[in-house]
Amino acid sequence: MIFEILIYPGFVFLVLASMIYYGILRKVAARMQSRIGPPIWQPILDFIKLVGKEDLNPEQAKAGFTFWPFIAITSVLIAGLLTPIAGIVPLSFTGDIVVLIYFLAFGSLAVYLSGFSSSNPYGVVGSMRGLIQMIGYEFPFIVSILVPVVAAGILSPFLINTLQVHYGWFGFTFPFAAIAYFVSILAKVEVPPFHTPGAHQEIVSGYSTEYTGTRLAMIELAHMIKLFVLISLGIALFFGGSADILMFIVKSLVLLFIITLARVLVARFRIDQILKFTWFFGFVALIDLVRVVLIL
């Protein structure tokens, strides 16, 4: 139990694996753009470097400036503990998928609140964009998660994972929900076409503009862990589950490759286009939800 929470698949594994996954994403994206690209452990080096840097505090920053990034990383780590990874889930209780949804949402919210508390105009605009985007993507995310939950009649991602290992993929039974879930992964981790909150060409670095040193490292790490957790939750809910580590790695790398394709290929949406797009997929997922409710 303690080993599962702290080492595998708990904190240490989550942090290291999500950094390596992000490094793979950067490497593959670089190869797609015919560059050589960084080594796949680059995010680890970035993290160590950022932790060793000076922390600057702007004069007008609000009190929350110092602690929101840490709250963000704590909540995504707890979300990671509630997610089944390779058939193991460190923390499990009845109804944990609801808690999981809340912790994931709160991880994003804490990052945006850190942008607000920095009092930088670019940070505030980035956070506002992030919150508007949140109105968009939470709808397809929750509706698509509800589909396998209602179909299986259980509120536990671990049991849904086991169910899929024995009885086949929910992604084939409910393709619309799976697609909507995938779109909401893209929107939740702000990969293109949804990278409006941190758009480099428009608002300097969005919510993380004022952040330096350790707190910037925490914001970036929260981002990477969120990507990893969402991928493993997707495998547990739609893409056939994972009974062992090999299956998990293969499936998650395929999902990561598709996310990388999206990151390289598409341009940025405007805010109103994001809302239209994500709500469209929300209604698409609703088709499956209605189907599931009518059949059962």
Binding site: G37, K53, S205
Partner: protein, 150 residues
């Protein structure tokens, strides 16, 4: 004590492997700026050294400054230098930044860059080739190790 030294070693290694770059053009004819942009393109790809181009002084470790320093930008330049967290290195790119270059008699130029902020690496040329700027960047990482030697 041993652990502390070991940790500092690791941080020092990581610093040299992930230089995030801020490019700032302070005036001049823009020739150096265009050559510096060439360094950031896929052809010369600083990401293979772990570098990223950041449009934000707070996230960056290496300041690449090109062009003659005009009177208007002098105070802003100081502010950008202060906003960059320690440890940082400064690269002066092009003869304008090093010694005012062809603008030496101009009425609105306020002096070579090293009168305004400490410069670690000079990349001469008018404009220098992208390869030279890249070499200057790599050199800056070595200077960095010397400067913060443990």
């Amino acid at each position: 004590m041993v652990f502390r030294r070991f940790g500092e070693r690791i941080v020092c290694y990581a610093r040299r492997k992930s230089p995030w770059v801020l490019h700032l053009d302070t005036g001049g004819c823009n020739g150096c700026a265009i050559e510096t942009f060439a360094v950031l393109t896929p052809r010369y790809d600083i990401e293979r050294f772990g570098g990223l181009s950041k449009a934000n002084p707070r996230h960056s470790d290496v300041l690449i400054i090109s062009g003659a320093v005009t009177k208007k930008i002098e105070s802003r330049l100081g502010r950008i230098y202060d906003q960059t967290p320690e440890p940082k290195v400064v690269l002066a790119v092009g003869s304008c930044a090093i010694s005012k270059g062809v603008f030496h008699d101009s009425y609105n130029i306020s002096g070579p860059l090293d009168r305004i902020m400490p410069v670690d690496v000079y990349v001469p040329g008018c404009p220098p080739k992208p390869e030279a700027i890249l070499q200057g960047l790599i050199k800056a990482l070595d200077v960095w190790r010397e400067k913060y030697r443990i």
